[in-house]
Amino acid sequence: MIEIHALTKRYGATTAVSDLTFSVQPGVVTGFLGPNGAGKTTTMRMILGLDEPTSGSVTVNGRPPRAHSAPLREVGGMLDPRAVHPSRSACHHLLALAQTSGIRRGRVDEVIDAVGLRDVAGRGAGKFSLGMSQRLGIAAALLGDPATVVLDEPVNGLDVEGIRWIRALLQELAGRGKTVFVSSHLMSEIAQTATRLVVIGRGELIADTSVADFIASAAPSAVRVRSSDQATLARLLRSPDVTVTAAPDGALTVSGLTAEQVGAAAGAAGITVLELATQQASLEDAFVDLTQDAVEFRATPRPNAGAICKEEK
């Protein structure tokens, strides 16, 4: 359980996180979504007790993150999978972390097996691929069998098999009643894994909701229809509240009506419906709709704003 209240973090003049309040519940996977630079990593660093909040508070399992006497039991985190000594082996890396809390050596072997690094555990971690590094980072996070697991962009750089593995792992952890908090800048990644969703942009909370509600609220759905007389059907359906557009393949995309309404209108006019489907707004669309004002770096050409890179005279 992670509880964040009025959390603000400033680095000099830059406000990375501003007045965030939300909680992450045990037993489900909670996605933490936001564009690059939205403050996800900063928030996670404060959850792990690495950065001090400028104001506001963070508690993990009821206590401030730095107040736990057995921290690896309470919260396991992965921020940067490359944060290893390059010539130290995966075994020694994990063993050094385990020793701090008196975690026995056998546990290191267990987590190495669990993440599938058995064959490379004796090699220098600096030579690991990104996927192997991610697995090592996750192994470190799981060492103390923590009640709360915090992973920053765990699917970055993974292949399909690795992504499936992480999804299954996160589901398992949540199924065991753990609090699982996973960040991503890709909505599609989160939607397939998470149940709950916390969305931030420019350090501010945009949404704290379920994945299903988020999609439903962000963009209305449309109805795709193909029929024996598209032109007539389009004329029948059009009204001030309804827009009808033709798709490249000849189908009509109707927004403002439900599939039932479209079907009934076609039936009443004696038009044969060949295809009728509700189109859910895509997850990326929903995400972009909500965060488009909060994207920090955007490619918007400003023709008369002068040179960006000035030459030295």
Binding site: R45, L50, E52, L79, A96, L97, G144, W165
Partner: protein, 280 residues
């Protein structure tokens, strides 16, 4: 202990639970730091360099002084055969000091420090663990090297009847003091590394403190150069490494060493202060 498995698509995940008690203690952090110390190559290379420099340069300089012995009563009276054989310590302090810096800055550079601090949220046990092991490793490796170079140097100088023995007043103190000096130089490096969190910055600050500051101080007018100079870290610490420190340019042996330790304590204290508060 329970084991759980479940497959989704092709993925099979098996992570056993772990119900053993856990708790962070200074002794456990020390064990953790011991694993880190012996599994990073810079430890081996630095300490090996220190040994080679202590023995190699000590023997070389002993041969040099054997070939060009002191002439005249005054020169012979002030000749310090123990210091000649221990002259490699001056170079070895670079190796040990750099190891001290690297021990902490390599963790900041890679980001590993965050994993370390997440596991040890009080943070300072990590610094004390590194300091303890650095000092212990330096003493364990450099004390035999200092004894070897002393004995080898004396057997070389003995051919010109210039040798001394460990039984002479101040000689054993100088040999052991040289090794203690190295250990504290390492701690000074560790403190500077922890304070500045950058390898380049830490090494530069260490060299500046040990070599550049005395150079600047030597330009002070009149007796100021000597009076200020003897309190600078390098000169103060080296008082304990010579059998007859010159009272005009040097503090008494253990007083000087105490001043040197004080520098290390202050720098480590500042590093601890910065580490305990603030962001990792």
């Amino acid at each position: 202990m329970t084991t759980w498995t479940r497959s989704q698509g092709q993925a099979l995940v098996t992570v056993p639970a772990y119900s053993q008690p856990q708790r962070v203690t200074q002794a456990r952090v020390l064990r953790s730091e011991w694993i880190k110390l012996r599994t990073q190559p810079s430890t081996l290379w630095s300490l090996l360099s220190a040994v080679v420099l202590i023995i190699g340069f000590g023997v070389l300089y002993s041969f040099l002084r054997e070939a060009r012995p002191p002439h005249g009563v005054a020169a012979i009276a002030s000749f310090d055969p123990a210091s000649v054989s221990l002259s490699g310590v001056q170079l070895a302090q670079i190796a040990v000091g750099v190891l001290g810096v690297l021990l902490i800055t390599s963790e900041y550079a890679s980001g590993l420090i965050r994993a370390s601090f997440a596991a040890v949220p009080r943070r300072l046990p990590v610094l004390w663990g590194k300091a303890t092991l650095l000092a212990a490793a330096t003493l364990a490796v450099c004390l035999p090297a200092a004894l070897i170079t002393f004995l080898a140097g004396q057997s070389i100088l003995g051919r010109q009847h210039l040798a001394t023995t460990l039984g002479q007043p101040g000689v054993t103190r100088a040999v052991i003091g040289s090794v203690l000096y190295l250990a504290v130089a390492g701690l000074l490096g560790l403190g500077l590394g922890g304070l500045l969190r950058s390898t380049a910055g830490g090494i530069s600050a260490l060299f500046g403190l040990l070599f550049a500051v005395p150079l600047v101080a030597s330009f002070l007018p009149g007796t100021w150069a000597d009076e200020v100079g003897k309190f600078l870290p390098g000169a103060a610490g080296q008082a304990v490494t010579s059998v007859y420190p010159d009272p005009a340019t040097s503090l008494a042996p253990w007083t000087g060493f105490g001043v040197f330790c004080l520098y290390a304590v202050v720098v480590l204290g500042l590093a601890a202060q910065r580490m305990r508060r603030g962001d990792a």
